[in-house]
């Protein structure tokens, strides 16, 4: 990973300042490469549209997501004022889809944040402190890696009932492992760099060095991994919802909608098709952005 600070030469102070300025131009470079990547730009646009309609859409739908309309049961798309049709209780699919998209995106974001915080702290501490502590912390990650984690998530959901906070925590707690490995690897590479030595010579504590000098320089690969974690989290949540362990009705997520649609698909295929399309579109845009970012930030990878 080419972090912003690679140039040799260690003329302390002024030089360091200058490097910080140069560092930003590397991000500029990355941005330019990203914007030249058609797939990534398409992904960004699609995602922005999806986020906008998830946030604003529910304000404009004539029905609310949990409103039961006895007369509109199984209404096909474009009938009775239901743009995308209605389900077995006559609830408007468009309203439910927008709400489901909002919930799925929120879970993706929050759970990824949870995994990000745990992963960065764990990896940075292990990599920076090193020695026996590093060995111990990474063994823990190895052990956790070799567990059938989905079982534990399922057990968690069964044990404590499905509430949305628990979904965040459970999925976030699973996804931090890879993050901590990436961060540790990066930290190992960074900790012998001159600017870290300079910080140490200047008398900074270890905690301050990690927070101010190590973590900011890890951002490149972490950003890439985050954009790939969000779709993984959305997928995991939908998977749980599909098994009936995720978001509970009348609340909707993309997973619950697809699960419901799969049950009723003979009668009302639109209930399966529209949520599936939305799901695929969301996952694809995240993956395109993630791949684009990886190429942009680390061009030697390709």
């Amino acid at each position: 990973m080419t972090g912003p600070i690679l140039a040799p030469g260690s003329r302390a102070g002024a030089e360091l300042m200058e490097k910080a300025v140069k560092g930003r131009s590397l991000w500029d470079d990355a941005r330019r490469r990203l914007l030249r990547n058609g797939a990534a730009v398409t992904g960004i646009v699609v995602l922005l549209v999806l986020v906008a309609i998830a946030l604003l859409g529910p304000l404009f739908t004539p029905f609310s997501y949990d409103q039961i309309n006895k007369n509109d049961v199984w209404a096909p798309p474009l009938t009775a004022g239901h743009l995308l049709g209605a389900d077995s209780l006559g609830r408007d699919l468009l309203a439910r889809l927008l709400m489901g998209l909002r919930v799925s995106l929120a879970i993706g974001l929050v759970a990824t944040l949870v995994s990000l915080v745990i992963g960065i702290v764990w990896g940075a501490v292990a990599g920076f402190v090193g020695g026996a502590l590093d060995e111990l912390m990474m063994r823990v990650v190895d052990v956790l890696y070799s567990l059938p984690f989905i079982f534990f998530v399922i057990l968690l959901m069964v044990t404590f009932g499905s509430n949305i906070i628990l979904i965040f925590v459970a999925i976030g707690a699973v996804e931090w492992l890879t993050m901590s490995r990436i961060v540790r690897g990066q930290t190992l590479g960074l900790k012998h760099k001159e600017f870290v030595e300079a910080a140490r010579a200047a008398g900074l504590t270890q905690g301050a060095i990690i927070a101010k000098h190590i973590v900011p320089n890890l951002l490149g690969p972490v950003v890439v991994y985050v954009t790939l974690t969000i779709p993984a989290v959305i997928l995991a949540e939908s998977f749980l919802s599909f098994l009936g362990l995720g978001v509970q009705p009348p609340m909707a997520s993309l997973g619950t909608l697809i699960a419901g649609g799969a049950q009723d698909m003979e009668l009302a295929p639109w209930l399966l098709i529209f949520p599936s399309l939305t799901m695929v579109l969301t996952l694809m845009s995240f993956n395109f952005i993630g791949d684009g970012l990886r190429d942009a930030i680390d061009p030697k990878d390709r």
Partner: protein, 307 residues
């Protein structure tokens, strides 16, 4: 080599122990008891039933008893399926999951590697773009979307394949579930192979092989492929985990009598012993697969020394 295997197996024991412990206490922390969803039992009878399964004792004692039993290979009786032991349930149902998983991973391996190699040989050509498109679509469409859509198309609309059921493992009943399980794996494997192959084809020893005048197919098949599929070997563990997750969904949608279906139901019914048995079984499976992956890796890559 033997020492390596021995050491890994020794590490596996505390790992399994941890799994058992965490799963045991999580399961017991769940509200609800195994016997309260049947008929309403009078308190005396429930006390009797609890005593029969040793669940009237303090939790710590139950835990140590369970550990002792497991160490002897006794996973106890199922609490829901009255006359069956956990081992019997595992034995009766593992075959479906095994057939599905093995077929899916074999098909995905062959197809994925072939597609990946073809794509790498024609980098930035039509085949390459086609394969990469398949790869991206395969990764982005989750199993619980492909499964119902395929059932809708081939089962309900075209009516050429059964939409579910096991039917003694008839081929027609297997096609859809295996396809659903294999698709995401094909995507990931072709992607990994392509990346590995492209890198290897630019390496010095491949140039040497070319300079020697070896025919292209020998360079690709004999020299390049071996190194290019190395990343695949480390993917074996995660692939197994992926198949496992997939089989939970596939067995539910296609209504197949495999292990995956049991897990969620048993957990919801608080069938403690069955859930525990299943967790241990899969944890052990993944540990063994990871070990095999490491051994294979060392065999294929002479630079890796097992120590």
């Amino acid at each position: 080599m033997l020492r390596f295997i021995g050491r890994r197996l020794l590490v596996a024991i505390p790992t399994l122990f941890l799994v058992v412990t965490v799963a045991f206490f999580m399961m017991r922390a769940a509200p609800g008891r195994p016997f309260d969803k049947d008929r309403k039992l009078s308190p005396e009878i429930e006390a009797n039933v609890m005593a029969k399964y040793g669940m009237d004792k303090p939790l710590s004692e139950q835990y140590f008893n369970y550990i002792k039993d497991v160490a002897r290979g006794d996973f106890g009786p199922s609490l829901k399926y009255k006359d069956k032991s956990v081992l019997q349930i595992l034995q009766e149902n593992y075959k479906v999951s095994l057939i599905l998983g093995l077929s899916a991973i074999s098909i995905a391996g062959v197809l994925g590697v072939t597609l990946g190699v073809l794509a790498a040989l024609r980098q930035n050509g039509m085949i390459d773009y086609g394969v990469m498109a398949i790869a991206i679509v395969g990764v982005c469409i989750p199993t619980f979307v492909t499964a119902p859509l395929l059932v809708l198309l081939f089962g309900s609309k075209l009516q050429i394949l059964p939409s579910g059921g096991w039917n003694g493992g008839a081929l027609a009943n297997l096609i859809l579930p295996i396809t659903v399980l294999a698709l995401p794996q094909i995507a990931i494997i072709s992607r990994l192979t392509r990346a590995g192959m492209i890198e290897v084809l630019h390496s010095n020893y491949v140039r040497t092989a070319r300079a020697k005048g070896l025919p292209e197919h020998r360079i690709v098949m004999k020299h390049a492929l071996r190194a290019a599929i190395l990343p695949l070997v480390s993917y074996l563990g995660p692939a197994c985990a992926g198949l496992l997750t997939g089989s939970l969904v596939v067995e539910k949608i296609f209504n197949l009598p495999g292990l995956g279906k049991f897990f969620v139901i048993s957990a919801l019914q608080r069938d403690y012993t069955v859930v525990m048995g299943m967790v241990i079984f899969y944890a052990a499976l993944i540990l063994v697969l990871n070990l095999i992956a490491d051994l294979l890796y060392a065999m294929l890559d002479p630079r890796v020394r097992l120590s």
